[in-house]
C-alpha cells in the first residue's frame, strides 16, 4: 500500500464541485473533473455511499517529476435509489451519475373509479 502512495507525488487533493438535479424518476449527480481520462475515474457504491475518485495527471509540469491531482468525493444515498441501474457518463470534463429511484418511490397517478 505504501509504495503505491509514494510512486506519484500528489500535490492536490480536490473536492470536485457537484450539482444534484432531481427529476421525477431519478437524481443526476454531476461533478467537475476537468482533464481526466475516462479510465482514471472510479465510481462505486459501498454501504449506500457513492464514492467518486479520479486521478488527473498534470502534464505541464516543466520539472521531471510527474505530479497528479486527486479528486475525491462521497455522497451518502437515501434508500430510495435503485443501486442496480446506476449509470455514469464522462464528457467535456464533467462526470454525470444517474441514480434512478426505486419503482415503489415513484409518484403515480391513482385513477378514481
Amino acid at each position: 500500500m505504501q509504495t503505491e502512495i509514494l510512486e506519484k507525488k500528489t500535490i492536490h487533493s480536490i473536492l470536485p464541485v457537484a450539482n444534484i438535479f432531481e427529476t421525477p424518476k431519478s437524481y443526476i449527480v454531476s461533478l467537475d473533473i476537468p482533464g481526466a481520462v475516462k479510465e482514471s475515474i472510479k465510481a462505486n457504491i459501498e454501504n449506500n455511499t457513492l464514492v467518486i475518485s479520479a486521478s488527473v495527471t498534470i502534464d505541464i509540469q516543466s520539472e521531471n517529476s510527474e505530479a497528479s491531482k486527486q479528486f475525491y468525493r462521497e455522497f451518502s444515498l437515501a434508500n430510495d435509489i435503485d443501486i442496480d441501474t446506476v449509470a455514469a457518463h464522462y464528457e467535456l470534463g464533467v462526470l454525470r451519475v444517474t441514480l434512478n429511484k426505486k419503482q415503489q418511490y415513484l409518484s403515480r397517478q391513482i385513477t378514481i373509479k
Binding site: 464541485v17 457537484a18 444534484i20 438535479f21 432531481e22 467537475d32 498534470i58 516543466s62 467535456l92
Partner: protein, 162 residues
Amino acid sequence: MLLIKRDPTQELSLWNREFPSFRGLQSLQYDMNRIFDDFFRGDVFANDSFFSREWNPAVDIVENNDSYILKAGLPGMNKDDVKITLENNLLTIRGEKKNEYDKKEGNYSRMERCYGSFERTFSIPGTIKSNEIDAQYKDGILTVRLPKAEETKQKKIDVNVK
C-alpha cells in the same frame, strides 16, 4: 498582481455572494481553497480584479523557453461558447456557461457550480508570435499555447575565456 484598495463594503458583498449559507460546508472549503490559491499564487499574469468577479475559471500558466502555456479549467462547456482574443499583449478569455438542465424537468437539490458569463484577462510579458497561437479544448480543459517571438526567448551565449 494588482494592488486593490481595501473597501469594506465590497468585501461584505463578496462574502454574501460567494458564501450563501445553503451551499454547505464542503463547497465552502472548496471556495476558501480556491481564493487562497488565487491570492497566494503570486500570479504575475493576473490582470483581473479579484473582487469584481462573478465566477472565474481556474487557470494554470507555465512558461518555458519557447512559449507560454495557459490552461483553464472549463468543464462542461461548449467549444463554441469560448472566445479568445489577443489585443495589445492582453490575452482575454471570455465565455458563457449555460445551465445544464431544464427547470421544467426537475429541481436542483444541490447547486455548487457557477453559471453565466466570465472573462479573464492576462497581460503577456514580451512579444509572442500572434499568428501561431494555438488553442485546444479537451476534457473540459482549454489549453492555449503562445509561442514566444525570437527576441523574447532567453538567449544563451557561451563566452570563451581566453
